[in-house]
Symmetry: C2
Subunit: 574 residues, 2 copies
């Protein structure tokens, strides 16, 4: 049972499935925001489309009845978006989402996958608009907002579709089962394997990566036959409203109920996530956000399969280096990028207090720290670059946390400062604070300090660095680990210690690749093996439990079975 859109996008699907296995570089959606790729007017069109959304209601066609509106998004670059969204109650949303489920299930994997790929294609065409929407909700610089919020998120969505497709094809859809039960008797059953989706999936998105962190789930849900209710963070609604709008458009065009995808926006002071997550008909939950709320969902959403990405504390271990400048340059970008608001940014940088070997020479802790601070200062010394790379701080609480960190203790090696943005005068932009702490002061750094706050932790030795990084991952969770060493044995020990604590490890990164970058189709993001989350983007476990394969069976005469089998053989030969 194929579908025209399946045929249209078949090549993309096949390439994605292959890439998911091979894990070399692969991307279906170009990350360069170039007019040559996206059309000469794409950039201006994107800005215009974004601006046209401002200060008015965002309306969905054929939406279930809403009771008023919500919406209070503020750009971290200093202005109100002024967009209002339909306000649905949970029960209304759930009932609306249910209505189209049976037809969506019956459509089968090919139709659903084809439609998902068409949606991704159209989202890709809207990448400039999405980039602006992501920029002015998350605070990311435009380049990052475009890439992470557009093509990279679309790649994560495609990854979800590819894994779902593979999983739905793990088993034949029907077969004849023949068993000899005596010398002369056979039992002959025709079996049909029904792919039965769980029903409604709720996707709870975060304020910093509204699309990147949710597309995997949204598309895995849809591809496997589930409806999706998207609950955006009140601070980052627009990128997901546009997303849901595109999904609904393609669903409707293809004769499916657009309410299979719904935006369920709520107000910060009137949250509905708990009600949504404990609704009997919500059978899948994908959550990105704080550890506290993620754990609440894991504990309380007993009716659902729950996938979480929560928070953690990421470590970086410096043991020895060949080229310190190359290392500090790399790290300066890592900690500056989006002001440490990535779940993959290193917070604690462990350095032996007796210093390290640099190209065979001993260098003291303080000299290494000074070189690091200098690299950050140099990198952020170019104002345009600083503004673009740092981006703005999504949440005012993060700015307050910078001050709190300084008050709590540690030696300030580099102070945070406000960064002026020429284009947006009221932008909430702040450079990172870098603090030196002793390894013994665990109360300071053995905690998540989200934002542009970096601890250089002086340890007794690299062995202690590794042990602290490992125990912090086990107790607090971690999503990345970086290590620098000229000694292969140290690299091996770190890889062993951290991977067995559920943390991917980047060794000796310099140049244009950073510990906080995670590439779809190659890097598994979050492992599910430590408190930073219970699932991974994207592996078999991320998709397999979104549906069940359920058989029905009925006796058929042996003749018919024989005919079926010869047909199969003919098919295999064809």
């Amino acid at each position: 049972m194929t579908h025209p859109l399946f045929e249209t996008h078949r090549k993309t699907l096949d390439a994605a499935v292959q890439a998911a296995h091979d894990r070399g570089f692969y991307s279906a959606y170009p990350e360069v925001p170039s007019g040559k790729i996206y059309g000469e007017t794409a950039k201006d069109d994107g800005i215009a489309a974004f601006k046209a959304r401002l200060n008015q209601p965002f309306e969905f066609k054929q939406s279930p009845p809403s009771s008023g509106t919500v919406g209070s998004e503020q750009s971290p670059y200093g202005f109100d978006l002024g967009i209002s969204y339909p306000k649905l109650d949970v029960e209304t949303a759930v009932n609306a989402a249910k209505a189209g489920l049976e037809k969506w299930m019956d459509a089968g994997p090919e139709a659903r996958v084809g439609i998902c790929l068409e949606i991704l294609k159209r989202l890709n065409e809207r990448s400039f608009e999405l980039g602006n929407a992501v920029m002015h909700t998350t605070g990311q610089g435009f380049m990052m907002a475009f890439q992470a919020g557009g093509p990279h998120a679309q790649d994560r969505g495609l990854e979800g579709v590819a894994y779902a497709w593979q999983e739905m094809n793990r088993h034949t859809r029907d077969c004849t089962w023949t068993k000899q039960v005596s010398k002369t008797d056979f039992v002959n059953l025709k079996k049909t394997f029904h792919i039965v989706p769980r029903g409604i999936g709720a996707v709870i998105a975060c304020s910093t990566f509204p699309t990147w962190n949710s597309y995997g789930a949204i598309f895995a849900n849809l591809a496997t036959g589930n409806a999706t209710i998207v609950k955006p963070h009140p601070g980052a609604v627009l990128p997901l409203a546009i997303t849901v709008d595109v999904i609904r458009e393609v669903l409707a065009e293809n004769g499916f109920d657009p309410n299979l995808a719904l935006l369920l926006a709520d107000a910060a002071d009137e949250p509905i996530t708990k009600e949504l997550c404990t609704n009997f008909d919500v059978k899948i939950i994908d959550y990105t956000g704080s550890s506290e709320f993620g754990e609440w969902i894991e504990q309380n959403a007993r009716q659902a399969v729950v996938f979480t990405e929560k928070a953690g504390v990421n470590s970086l271990i410096i043991d020895s280096v060949e080229d310190l400048k190359a290392v500090t340059g790399n790290l300066a970008f890592t900690i500056s990028l989006y002001s440490g608001q990535m779940c993959t940014t290193s917070q604690n940088i462990y350095i032996p207090k007796d210093g390290i070997e640099v190209n065979g020479e001993r260098m003291s802790f303080d000299d290494v720290a000074a070189a690091f601070v200098k690299a950050v200062d140099w990198f952020l010394g170019e104002p345009k670059r600083a503004v673009e790379v740092l981006g703005a701080i999504q949440n005012p609480a993060t700015v307050e946390r910078i001050e709190q960190a300084k008050k709590d203790g540690g030696e300030v090696l580099r102070d945070s400062g406000r960064v002026e943005n020429e284009m947006f005068k009221d932008a909430r932009q702040h450079s990172p604070v870098i603090l030196k702490v002793d390894a013994a002061k665990k109360d300071l750094y053995m905690r998540e300090m989200f934002g542009p706050i970096i601890y250089l932790v002086a340890t007794d030795s690299t062995e202690q660095s590794i042990e602290l990084a490992r125990s912090s991952a086990i107790c607090l969770g971690a999503i990345t680990c970086g290590v620098y060493s000229t000694d292969d044995a140290v690299l091996d020990r770190t890889v062993r210690a951290m991977t067995t604590a559920g943390v991917p490890v980047s060794c000796n990164l310099t140049g244009h690749i950073f510990v906080n970058q995670s590439a779809a189709f190659s890097d598994f993001h979050v492992t599910g093996l430590n408190p930073a989350g219970n699932a991974s983007l994207t592996d078999g476990a991320f998709v397999a439990n979104r549906f069940a394969c359920i058989q029905s069976r009925i006796p058929v005469p042996m003749e018919s079975a024989a005919a079926d089998q010869s047909k199969e053989v003919a098919g295999a030969k064809a």
Copy 2:
């Protein structure tokens, strides 16, 4: 990194992987307890081996230190086994299981899979001994105990290994990732994908199918690099003690710590399952047993991934039949087999109160019911067959439940009676009670009445029958559903209603195939989509979350990458 045992069993593995996809009949371990297959002396050897176990301690070599012994198994056929098992405390078991984990992880998929397949082969050779052990702990008749407890359980184990193998090979184990980052610059990373097991898996087994229900988990755990602590039901320890003994033997022979597999037996009056299931180091739990305890685990074992098979209420819908005798004959076997102590046996048989069409003629409810009772009476009228098929009642509480059911209400159409067993005078054997109830009396039949208790439910119509079967599955869980109809539309409606409630459906079964039979490699057992359990034997979801695939990455020069790639190409061509 291959392994001699992997090469030895490679063909079995490949056939199993193929069978898991194709889902036609497949079995690696012969189900016929024949001397021609298992050796002319196998039957006697099995009995002798079983008898040699009785009335003495069961000792494991190289076991962690035990603090005394436990053991109070009684054969449902009327005698004490008198076997004592080492008593371990949870902490001791967990620490012992941890010791060998790293080496087991490092061994890699091929070695682990090869060793698992060797274990299964040796368990297969012990099928007669296991058959006797299963018979005299569960109460199953010997033929069933041999088949379900031996070869069929081994097939379920092989299924776990096959799925684990496939899942561990879903991704390449290493690759070179090359990304062009500017007109002239490339980033070139060597990535290694580490298969990291969760750690320790606890398998909580039940008293009725100690091996069949646990082998999938035990072998999926071991194959994916986890240790396994097997916590048997106090009433059915021996089959799992033998199993663990064989696992330990093969592990030790191959240079691995035998404590990667441990038996953690407890006493009924001093249970340790809650302590085990909430131990921080127990990261996977597979549970078969009561709904109440299963839900406790789901709620409280927050540190672990939890797979449950709990209880349910299975329905059978009779709408219309061609050959009533063929139907009632089939059902007589279904409800007699192991006295309804299978989680797959139908409890509620829904028949319209106005009767059904039989070969085009109307037949009243009471006549259909009478035909059913007559078929059961006839089937059990042959004493040897009755004794063998009914088996014995595992738990005295199940016998009491028969009396309770009669007291609670409904019209007794066929009374239960004690069944004499010539060989075992004190065997706890009882034939089924069949009660007629009105559909309105939901308090009687809308509950699990485990054991030889059958309700014939008089409904307003087949539509109501379907609706009751469906709502019962959604509220109480269900593992099987049978339907008889000469109308394809009724079959389709039933299949739709029940599969979307997470229940496999068997249509019009007559002859040598029964609704309560579930075949490895073809029938998914439990779906995870209703309260009868949260997982399925065996699908991708059953294995994928037992380990994570975690990358480490390190820059390599482009030359080396090119060399690697050409090597790969050469490999692909070879």
